[in-house]
């Protein structure tokens, strides 16, 4: 029966979704709200009340405010669920969506299962899905946007293309990370007939350009702009809205974190897949300190660059559109982070890792098919990944000070390091 269930990818992927949900909501009420969480609750209320952005991450687009406000209304208050509901839900749902995405791309269940599994147990994604920050929702909308794009591009199906545009609009309205896959997918739609000359709709370039404009320009921009309606209601014009976006570009480019984050926490994106990199969050509520550490499972993250090499080599050999698309998506998400001079902390890797995981799953599956690694070795690897994620789990749920092995890491990066005791 288990074998039968494993053969049905819907069963497996939704099984991963349930597991993800459990990992992301376990003891959620015991995880205290950070000052940022509190600020985001206030931002949500006041954004809807008067269009005010609030103090926390006001330089990011405001969809988070709308989602948190809605969640607060559904749960009746900003309880743990009212506040973090959108992150938990979108974080959990991203897992099957990534699985479906990998399956749609390559038609291979092993790749789909591995991609979903890597995300399901990733401690950094678990951490991001338990906070109010917009990382989880951005990643969710990005994965939906890419999934819809894959279906839309392949068959030139207009509804999927429109949906893709809407999801990319939502992703960008959560955080500008959504812009990179949006741009790549738009380019992929235009480029597809050149890869597959017999593709449907490929014979009408003007119609294709018109569809492109509607699906990848008009709809995402409309969705993105709609998230600003409460701000525009303060009397602003569209010209002022455009000016604000331009000023935010400069702000994002020059953004500096707190002194602690600038000088004590690793802040370069090239480090992400070379060695383990942490991010810290602190909460001090009712006399009790809690520390959350966001850090990827390096047994998985460490596969990214070798897998990228494998995938690029394979692509040069096979010129397969789907693989090229994922490689382009990954590079477009990752390289700007690597090349920028401002601090890029590891929590910002959340939208990138879903693509990294698909590449790693593709490489592992390819190596198995080629007989380079055995299924038994893969099974052992999966077990070790689960064990490491289990060890890291307390860090992800703000219990880093409760266990000796995670406490040691927290103390290594304490803001009070070097102070006389």
């Amino acid at each position: 029966m288990l074998r039968k269930a494993a053969a049905n990818h819907h069963v497996v992927l939704w099984g991963f979704c349930i597991l993800s949900f459990l990992l992301r909501c376990y003891d959620l009420s015991a995880q205290p709200a950070t000052d940022d969480d509190a600020g985001m609750a206030s931002s949500a209320t006041n954004y809807l009340l008067s269009g005010m952005f609030g103090q926390i991450m006001q330089y990011h687009p405001p969809l988070r405010n709308l989602l948190v406000y809605l969640s607060g209304k559904i749960f009746g208050a900003y309880s743990a669920w009212g506040l973090k509901g959108p992150a938990v839900l979108t974080g959990s749902l991203t897992v099957p969506v990534v699985g479906y995405l990998a399956y749609s791309l390559f038609g291979n269940k092993r790749i789909a299962y591995l991609s979903a599994f890597f995300l399901c147990v990733d401690p950094l994604h678990i951490n991001a899905s338990r906070q109010v920050i917009q990382e989880a929702s951005t990643t969710f909308f990005i994965s939906l946007g890419i999934l819809a794009s894959v279906h839309g591009i392949r068959k030139d199906r207009i509804v999927w293309l429109y949906l893709s545009g809407a999801f990319f609009g939502l992703a960008a309205a959560s955080k500008w990370h959504g812009l990179f896959p949006w741009a790549v997918s738009a380019g992929a739609y235009l480029a597809y007939p050149y890869f597959k000359p017999l593709a449907e709709g490929g014979r009408y370039p003007l119609a294709r350009i018109l569809t492109f404009t509607a699906a990848y320009v008009a709809i995402p921009i409309a969705v993105y702009t709609a998230a600003y309606i409460p701000w525009l209601d303060r009397g602003h014009s569209l010209a002022e809205f455009l000016g604000l976006q331009l000023s935010l570009v400069k702000y994002q480019y020059l953004h500096k974190g707190t002194e602690y984050n600038e000088f004590m926490v690793p802040k370069r994106a090239y480090q992400w897949f070379l060695w383990p990199v942490p991010w810290f969050d602190f909460a001090f509520v009712q006399g009790r300190a809690s520390v959350g550490i966001a850090m990827g499972n390096f047994l998985v993250w460490g596969l990214t660059l070798p897998s990228l090499y494998y995938c690029i080599r394979t692509w040069f050999r096979e010129k397969r559109f789907e693989l090229g698309y994922v490689i382009a998506l990954f590079l477009a998400a990752y390289l700007p982070m690597v090349l920028t001079t401002r601090g890029i902390w590891v929590l910002l890797a959340t939208p990138t890792i879903l693509l990294a995981f698909i590449l790693s799953a593709y490489a592992l599956s390819g190596l198995i098919d080629a007989g380079r690694i055995s299924r038994r070795l893969l099974a052992s690897y999966v077990v070790v990944v689960v064990m490491l994620s289990a060890v890291m789990y307390p860090m992800s749920i703000f219990k880093a000070l409760d266990y000796p092995w995670t406490k040691a890491l927290a103390e290594l990066y304490t803001p009070h390091r070097g102070e006389v005791k």
Binding site: A33, D35, S42, N46, L49, I158, R234
Partner: protein, 265 residues
């Protein structure tokens, strides 16, 4: 529609697959249908943008003037008091021209807004918290945060602008030797001297501070030029800035001369 096409295909060729002519016809129909749908989406998009643009503008609230009526002129003793003047007049989304030697945009954020607490977190309207921190140098920032002001033009004396030009260049995204354009938080700002200030073609509220006349500025010339640059003033607030130690009685006299010149225009 698909069923119909299959039936037609069978009917015309007698085979289960549609004829090439029929396929081409269907493709053409499909392309036409897509063209219409895409054009409809683009039209809706343009209408949506237009609606957004006018929707925001319609939410503005600024004192109205009847034909031939002169704008109301108020006098206050501190920059801080302008906030109350605006509040009493129910300003919302106004564009302000601030004639002073300071920007009055020092930022202020109440700590209470971002203080963690046990669940459930309680939130409410934070505007009163901002108003609690009101002072002479941050009032304009707070007025922008609370929604009364949406855009600010700061007119600085020539000597002050020259002195602060380099510091401004680091902050504003569009900077030249004549003016600085950018955003403070989410507030569009323009900083310029009166000579280089562009004409503001929308209803504005003007504040003139006595401190502006600390330098060699001629109050009569300032009044004339300001009238030219701001043809549609709806409210003008004159500030004697009694709480600023360097604003002397002589400077306040200049403000009086500005008032007389403004009324005479």
């Amino acid at each position: 529609m698909i069923k119909k096409s299959t039936a037609e295909g069978v009917g015309s060729s007698g085979l289960s697959t549609p004829s090439p002519d029929h396929t081409m016809l269907m493709e053409k129909r499909n392309t036409t249908w897509r063209l219409i749908l895409n054009l409809a989406v683009l039209l809706c998009f343009l209408l949506f943008l237009a609606w957004m643009n006018t929707g925001g503008r319609e939410k503005r609230s600024i004192p109205a003037l009847r034909a031939g009526e002169t704008p109301e002129l108020c006098r206050v003793t501190s920059q801080r008091d302008i906030y109350e003047v605006y509040k009493r007049r129910g300003l919302r989304g106004a564009r302000v021209v601030q004639v002073n030697r300071f920007l009055n945009m020092v930022d202020y954020f109440p700590r209470e807004e971002v203080r963690s607490a046990p669940f459930p977190l309680r939130t409410g309207d934070v505007r009163p918290l901002y108003e609690k921190g009101l002072d002479a140098h941050n009032w304009l920032f707070i007025a922008a945060m609370t929604g009364m002001v949406r855009s600010v033009v700061v007119v600085l004396p020539e000597e002050v602008f020259r002195e602060r030009r380099e510091a401004f260049k680091a902050v504003f995204h569009s900077a030249s030797d004549q003016s600085m354009k950018g955003y403070t938080y989410d507030v569009p700002m323009l900083v310029a001297t009166l000579n280089d200030m562009p004409t503001v073609n929308e209803p504005v509220v003007v504040n003139v501070d006595a401190g502006f006349f600390l330098g060699p500025a001629d109050p009569v010339a300032v009044a004339r030029m300001l009238k030219e640059r701001c043809p549609d003033v709806r409210l003008i607030v004159l500030v004697s800035s009694d709480d600023e130690p360097d604003v002397t009685p002589g400077v306040k006299e200049s403000l009086g001369r500005f008032e007389s010149a403004w009324r005479a225009l």
